[in-house]
């Protein structure tokens, strides 16, 4: 108790110095917390947008991940409904999963007959209701702005979506009523030469195929912009379907945005497998919590091993390397800033405590003469360092929380990494108490450690020399 009394009163003997030291710690704490909160928000934002789109885990046919992207059609999972049923009925997985849904990846050429523009596309076939459900995943409460639901007509399986970039390239801005859509500059290079290659293909057959794949509901044929999708089937034959574009969705990554076509699973299967067995390239699992990912992955591996299924599981970080890159980049920057702040705090506190030891040399001699051990003197100064750290870090936490409160309510929006649209800037602090406690504790520990050297110097003072000190 007396130790606390002396420590707490001693740190305010030189008020200006102590306040300066505490302010340094407070600013260091606040800066670390604010940048950490921003970094956490970026991490969670990327994680959320990735998991909304790709789920946590995807089941592929063994080898697809490494070799299948060139020709997804031949890597389809046969009897996928059975696999899906096995996953859905597993008690462990069912408790962890929000949804397990099939997807079909595909690639080919897209053409807009209205604008006579064409280009390659990357497509995904999905179950619209499942996709809409996946878009509600927000474990971390990031409240990211979400794209609209698919809102497809249940009776019309030819309805789909495109990336905003692809819509622009295909000249669909007006029909899709897209804002901020630049016009093609006059005199821009034309791709008619490329179109000529497509035109050289046996168009008569395509026309037949397109005619066969037009909308089920003739009423929609003129209601929505339409595009033709050309792809090779699993057997290698060319196939074409016609897609009614309901709307355009930003895809986050520019390259994907300029090439993305999303369609309903039956249409994708029809394009890829034609009249053959309809398969899927993947089964996506979205979990309630990201931390359950390894448990779910282990369980899937057990199921596949026990049933001798030639399947593999990949997580969203593997499927989206950008996530890991951003996490590593921001993690590195955060660590660098944290180390710099730690060093500044270390030297500031060490300097303040060193001056305190010099000023209180006589007092140290007196307390030692009264019977306080060297360890008691050491404890005294370490406690003072810890108290400076405690007060500074606590003020820093309050400053950071206040900053987060105001920033989160200021309505600032920006385009974060891996997002194509602006989102409200939020400092993810109120939902991360553990992070706050960690930073707070670390700064206190750093301040305490900073006092170690002066404390040792104080403890080693000779009593008579200390008493003689003026």
């Amino acid at each position: 108790m007396m130790l606390f009394k002396i420590a707490s009163r001693s740190i305010f003997r030189n008020t200006r110095r102590s306040l300066t030291t505490m302010l340094t710690i407070a600013i260091g704490t606040a800066a670390t917390l604010i940048f950490g909160a921003y970094t956490t928000f970026v991490f969670y934002g990327i994680e959320t947008s990735t998991v909304e789109r790709l789920g946590h885990l995807t089941v592929y046919r063994q080898g697809y991940f490494d070799f299948g992207s060139g020709n997804p059609a031949i890597w389809g999972i046969a009897h996928y409904e059975t696999v899906l049923q096995q996953i859905s009925s597993d008690p462990v997985l069912s408790s962890l999963t929000v949804i397990a849904t099939p997807v079909q990846s595909l690639a080919g050429i897209v053409e807009s007959s209205a604008s006579d523009e064409s280009r390659t596309f990357l497509g995904t076939g999905f179950v619209p209701a499942d996709r809409d459900l996946m878009k509600h995943w927000d474990e971390h409460g990031t409240a990211l702005l979400r794209a609209n639901g698919t809102d497809f007509d249940a009776a019309d399986s030819s309805q789909g979506i495109v990336g905003v970039g692809l819509a622009r390239i295909l000249g669909l801005c007006a029909p899709l009523k897209l804002g901020n859509c630049p016009k093609l500059p006059t005199g821009a290079p034309s791709d008619k030469a490329a179109s000529a290659d497509v035109a050289a293909l046996p168009s008569q057959n395509f026309s037949d195929l397109v005619a066969r794949d037009t909308a089920d509901d003739p009423a929609t044929a003129n209601k929505y912009a339409r595009i033709d999708l050309l792809a090779a089937t699993a057997g290698g034959a060319p196939n074409v379907v016609n897609l009614a574009v309901r709307h355009a969705e930003p895809q986050g990554v520019r390259e994907l945005d300029d090439a993305y076509v999303g369609m309903q699973l039956p249409l994708a299967q029809q394009l890829v497998y034609g009249r053959g067995e309809h398969r899927v390239t993947g089964i996506v699992l979205q979990l309630h919590r990201t931390e359950d990912m390894q448990q779910a992955r282990r369980r899937l591996a057990e199921i596949f091993a026990s049933r001798h299924l030639d399947l593999e599981v990949r997580d969203f970080a593997e499927l989206n390397p950008f996530y890991t890159q951003v996490v590593n980049l921001f993690g590195g920057i955060f660590s660098f800033i944290a180390v710099i702040i730690g060093v500044v705090v270390l030297f500031t506190v060490s300097n303040a405590m060193g001056m305190s030891v010099v000023e209180r040399t006589d007092e140290i001699g007196t307390t030692r003469a009264l019977g306080v051990r060297r360890s008691g003197i050491r404890r005294q100064f370490l406690l003072e360092g810890a108290m400076l750290g405690f007060l500074g870090a606590t003020v820093g936490v309050i400053l950071a929380l206040a900053a987060a409160y105001f920033v989160n309510r200021a309505g600032i929006s920006y385009v974060p990494p891996a997002q194509a649209e602006p989102v409200p800037l939020r400092l993810y602090m109120f939902g991360a108490p553990l992070f706050i406690v960690k930073v707070w504790l670390t700064l206190i520990v750093v301040a305490t450690l900073a006092a170690l050297l002066p404390a040792n110097r104080a403890a080693k003072l000779q009593i008579v020399d200390a008493l003689r000190h003026v």
Partner: protein, 229 residues
């Protein structure tokens, strides 16, 4: 068994001042009986304070042996010597050496904390000691709010409060008026009787010297005279 509370045997203390070695105490051998008023006298720079420091175990001899209450302190570790000081020795420094961030009461209470006295007993004893030195009204004041004489009395109360075996005092009455000085000497006398405390003073105060039971005279670091008063 000897009733000497302090025994110094051929004690020498040499300080290194720059390139020069200063011999502050030169081969002093003396014994101080328990429960006495012992005075160490001598001119400035004669080695009185160094002798008190050696007896109080806040300094170690360059050679020779120091035995306090039957224990050769040269054989104790630093922590053991600290505990020994906390339990057995009280200091009254010439410059008071009060802890500036503590009130008068807290300064007096501090030595009791170091010896593990319980809170209630601590409070009772500290208040009684402050009353004995006439500072009850000033108990909440910090040293910078006290006069020189009041500081001296707090320092005396702090040294006496734990009823140590030995009290070492460097000019304890230097800042006190004659009436207060007399009352302090009376208090010390009472403790000498009640608590078997041995008082060892370094002083020039004739009034204090007149109360001495034993006087050691030092000059140039050597003991030149030992006399019973």
């Amino acid at each position: 068994m000897s009733n000497h509370v302090v025994t110094l045997t051929n004690v020498t203390k040499t300080y290194q001042v720059g390139a020069e070695k200063v011999r502050a105490v030169r081969g002093i051998t003396l014994s101080i009986p328990a429960q006495r008023f012992t005075m160490i006298v001598g001119p400035s720079g004669s080695g009185k304070t160094t002798l008190l420091n050696l007896i109080g175990c806040i300094d170690a001899p360059s050679s020779g042996e120091v035995e306090i209450s039957g224990r050769n302190v040269g054989h104790l570790s630093d922590s053991e010597v600290s505990d020994f000081r906390a339990a057995k020795v009280g200091f009254i420094f010439q410059s008071f050496s009060l802890i500036p961030v503590l009130s008068a009461y807290e300064n007096v209470e501090y030595p009791l904390l170091l010896t593990g006295v319980g809170a209630r007993e601590r409070r009772r004893t500290a208040l009684a000691m402050l009353e004995a030195v006439g500072l009850t009204a000033q108990r909440h004041q910090r040293p910078n709010e006290l006069s020189g004489g009041q500081k001296q009395r707090v320092a005396i109360a702090r040294a006496l409060v734990k009823r140590p075996a030995i009290v070492l005092a460097d000019e304890p009455t230097a800042n006190l008026d004659s009436q207060t000085g007399a009352s302090i000497i009376a208090l010390m006398r009472r403790m000498q009787t009640e608590s078997s405390t041995t008082f060892i003073f370094a002083s020039h105060d004739d009034h204090l010297i007149s109360h001495a039971d034993e006087i050691f005279t030092v000059r140039d670091g050597e003991l030149i005279e030992s006399a019973n008063a």
